[in-house]
């Protein structure tokens, strides 16, 4: 890896086979790692959709589109992202307000905006990139580490859309958006001390927060601590997913052989709970391969962010990578019973297109930031 890493640095472009990738602002190593992750994900997904070729092909198309999004995002110069950042953010916030006013309610949450006859979409998805972009835009020409005032403004930029999303209510996406924005502030040099204070304040406020939560959210937290209290209802998901994972053992039951997933005991096996399918069918070995791929992608992403030439670039790229981590951590911790159930897919592995598209676009931005010269 180290050699690849060195070779991919600017000025080491003697390797002609990858030189053309550099010209189109693609980092070969990150691309390779992402491709490996996607491939691994597709293998598992093939089993999770019960070898249903229609669904599998649909996912192949989505993944292909996500790579196209990565390619396009990589072509846009970082200056452009910075220039557009405040406008994209403002449009996003306006859309979120519109969602609360006119949005379509699906399964009790008002998350979608519909342009009748054309399309429907979730503005909150856009905010996963727009919020860190806006915070990075705000902080990039301030003195860093940021002053208290700058931290407060940055947090406000984060809190407004995150609050609107949580009101839908969509706690999962709200946390991810807030995390992405907060990551920028942390990367900008927010003193660790302050984070310690914030954590203590949060712990102190937790009992109060309890009353702010919706009933179903409280139920999910209670279920985390005692899933057996309602094994056929709220506890079902977590009991079945831990059973699936645990019964996989070291090497798993084999692809397509998972009884929990293929006999419908495991809910949402294709989407949010796909890590349980990996655990059941490929065992601890499969899980470790997946986690290694994730860690390598994050490592590569952070190295790329650190070597970016502008503050805006560093902050934005770094926060996108951290968000990626938050995604996978929340998902895996949830499915393995460490966190309450929130609707977060496993990045680049779960069935579905929107999240893959956003994430790949994010990696495209990271590449743009790193690979565009003279900035």
């Amino acid at each position: 890896m180290n050699q690849d890493f060195v070779r991919s640095l600017p000025g080491h472009e003697r390797n002609l086979r990858v030189a053309w990738l550099h010209r189109i602002h693609i980092d070969p190593l990150l691309l390779l790692l992402l491709a490996g992750l996607v491939l691994f994900g597709l293998v598992v997904l093939y089993s999770a959709v019960d070898a249903n070729s229609a669904q599998f092909q649909a996912q192949l198309v989505r993944i292909a589109l996500a790579f196209v999004a990565l390619g396009i995002a990589a072509q846009l110069p970082p200056q452009m992202y910075m220039r557009w950042a405040p406008y994209v953010y403002i449009v996003g916030v306006v859309l979120l307000v519109l969602v609360l006013l006119f949005g379509i309610t699906v399964k009790g949450s008002q998350r979608w905006l519909e342009i009748p006859g054309v399309t429907r979409f979730q503005p909150s998805e856009l905010m996963k990139i727009a919020v860190p972009m806006a915070v990075a835009w705000y902080l990039h020409d301030r003195v860093l580490p940021p002053s208290i005032k700058d931290v407060c403004v940055a947090l406000a930029i984060v809190a407004i859309p995150a609050g609107l999303i949580m009101m839908q209510p969509d706690l999962g996406t709200g946390i991810l958006v807030a995390g992405a924005g907060f990551a920028v502030v942390v990367l900008a040099g927010l003193p660790w001390r302050w984070m310690g204070y914030a954590f203590l304040a949060f712990a102190a406020a937790a009992p109060g927060l309890w009353y702010v939560l919706q009933d179903y959210q409280r139920q999910r937290i209670l279920t985390l601590f005692d899933p057996e209290s309602d094994p056929l209802g709220a506890g079902w998901n977590i009991i079945q997913s831990t059973t699936a994972i645990g019964s996989g053992g070291l090497t798993g039951k084999g692809l397509l052989e998972g009884t929990q997933s293929h006999l419908d005991f495991l809910p949402e096996a294709r989407t949010d709970f796909i890590i349980a399918v990996i655990g059941e069918e490929l065992g601890l070995v499969g899980v470790l391969i997946l986690l290694s791929l994730y860690v390598l992608i994050i490592l590569r992403g952070l190295v790329m962010a650190a070597s970016a030439e502008s503050t805006f670039g560093r902050l934005l790229a770094g926060s996108l990578i951290l968000t990626f981590f938050v995604y996978l951590f929340v998902n895996i911790a949830m499915v393995s019973g460490l966190l309450p159930v929130v609707g977060v897919p496993l990045p680049l592995v779960s069935y579905g297109g929107t999240s893959a598209l956003t994430i790949m676009a994010g990696f495209g931005i990271v590449m743009a930031i790193r690979m565009h010269k003279a900035w």
């Binding site: 003195v143 942390v186 056929l232 645990g246 019964s247 009884t259 650190a306 911790a333």
Partner: protein, 643 residues
């Protein structure tokens, strides 16, 4: 660090790098936590979750054993098993249940009763995704229609199970009995494991008595099911063991004849093979179709059945307890002989009534008239039997100790249940002074002796018990226990063979022959004028192809006031007399003994005797024809002093 207000790109870049390293360390730490969690689940707790996953998917399901078949003595099937298909719905998978049912009703018959039964089944406790039956017993045509339209109905299932079928329907309802759906009350008494695959249990008759052997042994299959309880594959199987097939003494041709002979009348016929005690026919009218208890009937229909004045569910043959009336006289006569109170030669004068010494009350003969012209003249025991003289027996009883009558009658199994394998048979009642003191708080009056002697008063017997009495006389004193079971493939768990009953002590062989003669005269003595003929001769004795011994009985249901005549027309249907007849044939070497009871039928000779003859004809004529046994010439009557 906030003090500086000048931007320093190089410092910012190095600070970012240290931040990135710090955050990466945190990420590695958190990923380490995840790894630890997976090691915990997949390595340390592997066996727990492995077991839990297997428990999830592997179910052990009971397999119902096919119930043993029941045959008659000729190998005719009396109870078999039939595949029955039901239409069931998995309501969890159906949106708009009412609409689905309406659409199904266009394809197959679904009555409002089916729907209300379905709704009550829905309310019962069940597992999620367990199918609930909407229609049972689908026809082949309906099954085909449903199969074609299967794709239109999500959550519809057609299931099949073996259910009991009684091909003769009503005919054997009381003899063979039936199975019924296990109720919650039953569940408390039944072995949960043995019945885990079975929905029915024998509730009446042979089905009840031989339940253990007929049931068979439950089997198991281990199956892999999905989260919705649907079976995906079979993993292991232990086949059920069929119940025992059994053959009964019952003769379906005789049963048909007995049922036809009774016709629409309420009553019972019990026919025994006197040599073995085998029950050849056991009919109780009215009956019911036992198949309805298996496939289900509307609650209204059941209510009608169970509340009908004619009590079709009541088994008169074994549970109907009636005063035997004059059919008790042969027993009484022999009791008198044995006690030495009378002799075959003793003659009394019958003027149609009897008075106890010093009492005003009149005990009437059936020939009594208000003008005093009744009575049968000079009567000995032989004549007292064929003319059924009450006065003779009043006189005899007035001179006997009650305990002599009781102890003699007791040997005939009056007041006792002696059948080997007849479920729930009633005991009847053989009264005595101790019983009367206990039950009625009264002493035994001399008048009780008189009623006892003519089979009235408190004496009660079932048609089955009267058939035993007939068989005992046919056997000249050898008492047999009635039995249903003729043969089985293996020893039956239910029967610990009871000891044979002791033969009747007292009467000499000659006494038995004389009694049989007197009973033959009941049927065959004719053309001698009203006071010379056997009571039944005019009804059955003119045209008979074999020697039959019989005795009629006409049991009073309501008391006729002193000085009044019995006028059948004036009485309510249920207050009319019960007609009895007991008989056996051929008299010298009896092959069959029976009792006939017609409830509120009237005269025993006129009503019950023809039924008895029809049954005996059906049994004997074919046998006599094939064996080309010539009809025995009538032996000279041994005592006929009147003649």
């Amino acid at each position: 660090m906030v003090g500086l207000s000048i931007k320093d790109p190089a410092r910012e870049q190095s600070m970012f790098a240290s931040r990135a390293i710090g955050l990466f360390a945190i990420i590695v730490f958190l990923v380490g936590l995840l790894v630890l969690r997976f090691v915990h689940l997949q390595i340390w707790q592997y066996e727990t979750f492995q077991t839990r996953s297997d428990l999830n998917r592997i179910q052990v399901q009971p397999l119902a054993p096919p119930r043993g078949l029941i045959f008659d003595r000729q190998g005719e099937l009396l109870a078999e098993n039939r595949v029955s298909s039901s239409l069931a719905l998995v309501t969890e998978r159906i949106d708009g249940l009412g609409q689905t049912i309406a659409q199904l009703a266009e394809l197959v018959s679904v009555t409002p009763a089916d729907i209300s039964d379905f709704e009550s089944r829905l309310k019962r406790k069940r597992r999620p995704f367990e199918p609930v039956a909407l229609r049972m017993d689908l026809t082949e045509e309906e099954k085909a229609v449903l199969a074609v339209n299967r794709h239109r109905f999500i959550g519809m299932e057609v299931t099949s199970e073996l259910i009991r079928h009684y091909p003769y329907g009503e005919l054997f309802a009381h003899a063979v009995g039936s199975v019924r759906r296990i109720t919650e009350d039953d569940l408390r008494a039944l072995d949960e494991v043995a019945y885990s695959g079975t929905e029915f249990v024998g509730k009446r008759g042979v089905e009840k008595f031989y339940e253990r052997s007929l049931l068979g042994q439950v089997g198991y299959q281990q199956v892999e099911t999905d989260a919705h309880g649907r079976i995906r594959q079979e993993l292991d199987k232990e086949a059920p063991i069929s119940g025992q097939n059994i053959t009964l003494h019952l003769d379906s041709r005789l049963q048909i004849a007995a049922s036809a002979a009774l016709g629409e009348r309420r009553g019972a016929v019990v026919a025994l093979d006197p040599r073995s005690g085998g029950v050849l026919a056991l009919v109780s009218h009215p009956g019911y179709d036992p198949n309805l208890f298996v496939s289900g009937m509307s609650s209204k229909y059941y209510k009608d059945l169970s509340q009908s004045l004619y009590t079709p569910l009541f088994n008169r043959a074994i549970n109907g307890q009636y005063a035997p009336g004059s059919t008790f006289k042969p027993v009484m006569g022999l009791a008198g002989i044995v006690a030495g109170t009378t002799e075959w030669e003793t003659i009394i004068e019958d003027r149609g009534f009897f008075r106890l010494p010093g009492q005003k009350r009149i005990y009437r003969d059936w020939t009594w008239t208000r003008d005093g012209a009744g009575g049968q003249g000079d009567v000995d025991l032989h004549r007292a039997i064929y003319r059924s003289s009450n006065v003779y027996f009043y006189d005899l009883a007035s001179r006997m100790e009650v305990n002599d009558i009781v102890s003699f009658a007791d040997q005939f199994a009056f007041g006792r249940h002696v059948a080997v394998d007849v479920a729930d048979a009633s005991q009847g009642l053989l009264p005595d002074p101790i019983w009367k003191q206990g039950a009625k708080g009264e002493i035994w009056y001399p008048g009780d002796n008189l009623n006892f002697a003519i089979g009235q008063g408190d004496l009660l017997a079932t048609p089955l018990q009267m058939a035993i009495a007939a068989a005992t006389i046919a056997n000249r004193g050898r008492v047999v226990r009635p039995r249903m079971l003729l043969a089985s493939d293996a020893p039956m768990a239910e029967v610990d063979p009871p000891l044979p009953l002791p033969a009747i002590t007292g009467p000499s062989p000659d006494d038995w022959e004389r009694m049989v003669d007197a009973m033959e005269a009941v049927v065959h003595r004719g053309n001698k004028g009203f006071r010379g003929n056997g009571t039944a001769w005019a009804y059955i004795g003119r045209d008979i192809g074999y020697r039959m011994a019989g005795k009629s009985g006409t049991a009073q249901v309501v008391e006729i006031k002193q000085g009044e005549e019995y006028d059948e027309e004036e009485l309510d249907e249920f207050n009319r007399k019960h007609a009895w007849f007991i008989a056996f044939a051929p008299a010298d070497d009896p092959l069959i003994a029976l009792s006939v009871l017609v409830e509120n039928g009237g005269g025993g000779s006129s009503v019950a005797a023809p039924v008895a003859k029809q049954v005996l004809d059906a049994y004997l004529l074919p046998q006599l024809a094939t064996a080309s046994i010539s009809v025995a010439p009538r032996r000279p009557s041994q005592a006929d002093p009147i003649q």
